[in-house]
Symmetry: C2
Subunit: 853 residues, 2 copies
């Protein structure tokens, strides 16, 4: 029965000696039975101001962590030591129930556990809960499978061929028997009330075949992940795998589109015209006074770069990506169905969640309050009225947070405008020539940093707001939290980008009538290549920055750091109690790991990335490639994190990825509209089309640049805004040009919006309608053509159901047969007695069964 302990790589940041020592902690004292689950609680030694070493350590952090996902409002509003504070002394202090009460409740709970056939072992002040022998066998076969040096994919195939017929186990019956008032308390409520400090199973294995960068090209061993971490986490990794796989064709096409741009850049007539110095378009100054007139040919490089992202192929690419998103959804639905089948979840239905401890506490409070008044102790619920203050706080805070995001974006705009103005005024010519680059780079970095900081803040705010709401069940808590976090993080990530795509350069006014912010700063314009280039830069910086810093640095670095700190602390503490040092058990070293805090951050990260991949793909065809590169690392990184940096999560069942699927659908829907607007309003696609088919004298693009530039008579500048160096270009300028569709100064309505503007606008809007509807209907058709359940799986499910019915029938018939033979035997021996015996009654049962199936 005894298995060789697995390689001690989990604790690779601890010293090897400790690893060797703590291996024993995987087993009970007899070295035979494995530890499945750990419960911790504090025991105060009489006369000591702190609880004992190990326990006290477990106490401080484990308690705070275990509450991190389940924290409710403070039971009493008065000031008391917060349980989150790791140095607040013995945590039992602040709780409402006394130490004696806790001990008795603990004993009762453990008594129930032993009654149910679990084996407990007390280690100093820690119990170990142990399942029966069948689990050992399961783990054995499991370890056996993992150590086989097989390709994970092969392993999965083999598993599939050995599919067992099964029916989901359900605990519904137990719940029925125990109404929530008379029910003995479960572990969640015991944790909630502080009777136990933490509850977690132990890490006992990791995967070389999975959590390693060296196997990045392999499929993930999904069925193993599922066995080790449970269906919920298995589904996350399966989803991540499908997403990453689907990114391969998307990034391929994206690269081809980008290359098409590179190849055709020399044939692009508009950028040729811009670069042509002979054309000599004298442009109006970009800022008041200090800037002078400039020649359009100086924007040649930008114009050529713009073409890389702004060519007809990007229109095709956005349509492709919209269909790709629809395809991805369908593919995932099918994969999920297949996994459900393979994991025997087809018959499984999610159980009704039990109310959270915080919710029950609030209800109890309410009931007690009512009892004081009306003397009757009915079962109460939290009504809308009870929750009204929380809802109001939620709405106000959400709006406030979104307002903060907008304010910060505006702040960055102000920074850009003012810095640009200041740098333009600088006497240093090098500074002046680098103005644009300096300002752009610093602004983008500021934006990124702000996004990163606000992301953390918003995560905390969303959690706080959800706790305020006191949702009834864990499921409801998670959904509400995800919804809020998603909205805040989404707004945070995309507001600056939306500003650049749709507002920048449109609010600036025209020469002679610019829009001024705070009466001194002119609103910024886009570079002459169009705003698409700037959008592209902003997108790539945000996306790459978020991925590199947030995902990799934060996700791996911070838990490691925390582990180290906790380890150092424990080291320091252990010097005082030397004798315990020798017996550092595996369950003790696992304590240094971060507790598992749910999959929300992982999903959230990927959904935001999905947003980058789909929302503005028209302006940045390389986004799928970046996402793909990131995800190849991300899978292994998450794997490492789950195996080595977190306490092993309790396996949880799930049939699907829940609310995330709806969010994905929502993002994909929004993406269609956003891309339609990016193509028609941010890119030059529509103006070019209109010029070519309505205004061009010869049907070619020649003369397009001239057509997009309006005329301005420099004598119409407002006083004090004329350039101080009017002869900068070496000649006297009377008419300068600016990018807009307005009437020339010599028209009867000078500087009015021209007919061309309205024509282009109408075509732009028509394009949006056509694009949105065509793509929407195409997605719907894709949705409709691809069946949700793969054909072979639906056949298999059908077959299995028939087999199951057959099996039941046969067993019933077998029993009936046995009964029959017994009855006839009994009749032979005690003739005539069987007419009213229990046997006769029981014989009718099989008939009922055969009718029911």
């Amino acid at each position: 029965m005894h298995q060789p302990p697995p390689a001690p790589q989990i604790l690779n940041s601890l010293t090897p000696e400790e690893n060797t020592r703590c291996r024993h902690g995987l087993y009970f004292q007899d070295g035979q039975r494995r530890v499945d689950y750990v419960l911790t609680y504090p025991v105060k030694k009489p006369g000591s101001s702190r609880s004992r070493r190990h326990t006290s350590l477990l106490t401080d952090n484990a308690f705070a962590r275990s509450l991190r996902r389940a924290r409710g409002p403070a039971p009493a509003p008065g000031p008391r030591p917060s349980p989150e504070d790791p140095e607040a002394g013995s945590p039992g202090h602040g709780m409402d129930c006394h130490e004696d009460d806790k001990r008795s409740r603990r004993e009762e709970f453990e008594g129930h556990l032993t009654d149910m056939g679990l084996e407990l072992e007390k280690d100093e002040d820690v119990y170990e809960v142990k399942n029966g022998s069948s689990v050992v066998e399961k783990i054995n076969t499991f370890i056996h499978k993992v150590t086989e040096p097989l390709h994970p994919n092969v392993e999965e195939n083999r598993t599939q061929s050995l599919k067992h017929l099964s029916y989901p186990f359900s605990r519904e019956k137990q719940h029925l028997k125990c109404s929530s008032l008379s029910c003995p308390p479960g572990i969640t409520s015991l944790l909630g009330s502080g009777v136990y400090l933490a509850a977690y199973p132990l890490h006992d294995l990791m995967y070389e075949e999975w959590a390693s960068y060296s196997v990045f090209y392999k499929y993930q061993p999904i069925s193993l992940i599922r066995k080790y971490f449970g269906e919920k986490i298995g589904l996350y990794f399966a989803w991540l795998g499908v997403y990453t796989q689907m990114l391969i064709p998307a990034s391929l096409v994206g690269v081809i589109v980008f290359l098409y741009g590179c190849v055709t850049v020399d044939d692009d007539i508009p950028s040729m015209e811009i670069c042509d110095v002979r054309k000599n378009f004298t442009m109006c100054p970009l800022c008041d006074r200090v800037c002078s007139y400039w020649n359009l040919s100086s924007a040649c490089a930008t114009a050529r770069a713009s073409h890389l992202f702004d060519n007809p192929a990007t229109v095709f690419f956005s349509i492709f990506m919209a269909l790709w998103a629809a395809m991805f959804m369908e593919h995932w639905k099918r994969r999920q169905m297949r996994l459900n089948y393979e994991w025997d979840l087809t018959g499984f239905e999610e159980e009704e969640d039990h109310p959270r401890a915080e919710y029950e506490f609030r209800v109890l409070q309410k009931t007690l309050k009512k009892e004081h008044k009306s003397q009757k102790a009915e079962k109460e619920k939290l009504t809308c009225k009870d929750r009204f203050p929380a809802y109001m706080t939620n709405i106000v805070m959400m709006l406030l947070m979104i307002g903060v995001t907008f304010a910060i974006v505006f702040g960055v705009i102000l920074y850009r405008i003012s810095t640009k103005a200041a740098l333009h005024m600088s006497s240093n010519p090098t500074t002046r020539s680098n103005v644009r680059l300096t300002v752009k780079a610093t602004a983008a970095i500021i934006n990124l940093v702000v996004i990163l900081i606000l992301d953390e803040v918003y995560g905390a705010v969303a959690r706080w707001l959800t706790v305020l709401e006191v949702p009834k069940t864990d499921g409801s808590f998670e959904e509400r939290l995800i919804f809020k976090t998603f909205i805040l993080k989404f707004v945070n990530a995309f507001t600056p980008i939306i500003y650049i795509a749709f507002f920048r350069g449109r609010l600036g006014g025209r020469p002679g009538s610019y829009l001024y912010v705070f009466e001194s700063y002119r609103m910024e314009e886009c570079a002459s290549g169009g705003c698409l280039m700037e959008l592209c830069i902003q997108l790539s910086i945000t996306m790459l920055g978020k991925q590199l810093i947030q995902n990799n640095l934060f996700e791996i670095g911070v838990p490691k750091l925390k582990k180290l700190i906790r380890y150092i602390k424990s080291k320091r503490a252990s010097f005082q109690e030397e004798e315990r040092e020798k017996r550092l058990q595996r369950y003790e070293t696992d304590y240094f790991l971060e507790p598992y805090a749910g999959l929300t951050p992982e999903y959230m990260e990927m959904i935001i990335q999905f947003g980058f991949v789909t929302l503005f793909v028209a302006s940045f065809p390389l986004a799928p490639l970046f996402a793909l590169l990131n995800n190849i690392i991300e899978i292994r990184l998450d794997a490492k994190k789950f195996v080595a940096e977190l306490r092993r999560p309790v396996a949880a069942r799930a049939k699907d990825i829940g609310i995330w699927y709806n969010i994905l659908r929502g993002v994909a829907k929004v993406a269609v509209i956003v891309n339609a607007f990016v193509i028609s309003f941010t890119s030059d696609f529509i103006p070019r089309l209109v010029y070519q088919y309505m205004y061009s004298p010869d049907g070619s693009m020649h003369g397009f640049v001239n057509h997009t530039l309006s005329y301005f008579n420099v004598s119409h500048f407002q006083n004090g805004t004329q350039p101080i160096e009017p002869l900068y270009l070496g000649y006297q300028v009377e008419i300068c040009r600016y990018k807009d569709y307005r009437e020339p100064p010599w028209s009867s309505t000078p500087y009015e919006i021209s007919k061309e503007f309205w024509t282009v606008l109408a075509v732009r809007l028509a394009f949006v309608i056509v694009f949105q509807n065509v793509v929407m209907w195409m997605s719907d058709i894709v949705d409709w053509l691809i069946p949700d359940i793969p054909k072979d799986i639906s056949l298999q499910i059908h077959k299995e159901k028939i087999l199951m019915v057959d099996l039941f029938m046969k067993e019933e018939q077998g029993k009936l047969h046995v009964l029959d033979s017994l009855v006839s035997a009994a009749a032979k021996e005690h003739g005539g007695r069987n007419s009213h015996s229990p046997l006769a009654r029981s014989r009718s049962i099989p008939h009922t069964y055969s009718n029911n199936y």
Copy 2:
């Protein structure tokens, strides 16, 4: 056991004597056992050229009917007497299998039936198949319930309170045992090969509480309908009920919107301006030569009428109706769920359909062909290659049919143009003044007649095309048929309306440069009030006409007529065989009824109506009211039809309304876009808005009419198109006006499209985008806010599942207990012998069970 026979109202068109006589037909010869099902086949009397009276009658029509839904391609391509031809003589002639073979197959089949416990009775040449006694009991309780003079709603409530715990019966096991090669032939394939001529159960009851116009205000007794006709028809009537109920608020709001138009018509500035004779807008002639200039004030009445349907309230109403449609879907989903629960369908899954006889025949043909070549008799399927010709025919025919629709619409346009021109030339002044009315009325009636005729043609074409495809199962056949029929009928119903809404008046050109059809007829324009008025007229005529003629006349009249014809024929035949007349049985009179041909026509009618209610609701707010009035009658009319005019359909199970739900969703989606376009392009809503906020000097609507009319210099008329009576208005006209946004003759680009046109167009398109997206997201939110499963139902389902598990467990434990006592008893008597007995083995079974649940 014997029940009093129900009142003989089913055959209310037959004479009372016959009714009395045929009551006996409901029972077997013993008068005790009820007839459940009838099988008919022809028996040839030696020496007679026709088969015997009763059978021959059953033969001719019953055979044709039973094949109507299941007809495949002719087994052999050569010419042979068609079985559909009622006078083609003995129908056995043309079939491939001989009379002897048929008889033996019949005998085999009936032998199987008797083996299964069914009771048969032969009546001359007809067998009656009879179920066991439990069915009689069921029918008794059922009759008991119906005759109770209760409000149907109360009845349903009572039924609900007595909900039984149940689990769906499944025949899957039987199918498993009988692979389709070795399987004895089922009734479908026997029907298909002509061994039997028809198979139907008998009508044995009708409902005063339902199929009567006097109870139109009552809820339908849905649970009774379900018990009598089965779930599928029950769901149809439930759906129809929900739809009708939902139409009540819609028609209320529609009437309010219409009344708002009536009340505000006197405050409408544009129509005031049109009616103001002092404004004196001289309009350009409406046709070449014979028409002259006219004064806009003569269109005063039309303008005022237009306002009834073209006011800001209609915008609100279209948004309301879009949300209404979303709400209706959600409401139906919930109702369906509730019915599923009440009818114990929650656990029911639709069984795999068996292949249709026609499909199997084709496969057999293919196999035989292959056998000739390769000598192996594998099980074949029809591949895409086999079906390719059918698919091509399908596509070509569908396009052709749609082309025919377009051609006919164009033909009606030509009729309108040419008639108008001809009537204008008439010398009779009365004719000339009534031109518009005459042309409009006749054109609309022609349109309606064409739609009605084509509807019948398209129904037949769709059926023919689907038969060509040889779909594998009945389900697939039905879906394909519905899809094709829907597309054809939808195009047929809405093409003329779409032409009027979006194309009419936009293709006419401008004065001096009109568009001519066949070089002589000028394309038609809309009346001065805008096309909305004409759209409204066309809509109401089509909708009302379709409802009155198609639904009521065809649906009730035609079956009655057919019944009468069949009855007269049988009368004539019976004169020759007098002796049989006395014993006209119920199953014989039921033969005069139409066979049940599926719910497709009923649903189709309602879906097209749903299209009228949602698609163009912006132009016709009274559509929901008309639909409501129609449906109140329709429910009872359908009920009467099902009870009295059709043979009682075989009860079929269904969990939902199938493909119809998807079609409804599709129509609702299209409706949003169509309404957006109707509001922005057909109505004057956007031009008014633009005038008021962009061009009006004082922000009011004064001057709007002048703004929408362009100028035309009459000297620019093409030669020969000038009016022959230029002084018709009594003064010399130099400049006439026409409705368009074009440059005036004195501009530098005369008659070019003006800036105003582009401005209005841009705003129109922007409105479409905003409207579509706002309504779409609002619908999505409605969809998301309303849970698909009502809370109480989901709780109930959960509870029932627990109860079911409990029940199983208890029964298992009971059995275990019995076994235990037996084992111990056996052990006592034969000590030591039980260690290897079957008893010991069977004891392990209950454990398996408890793990599985």
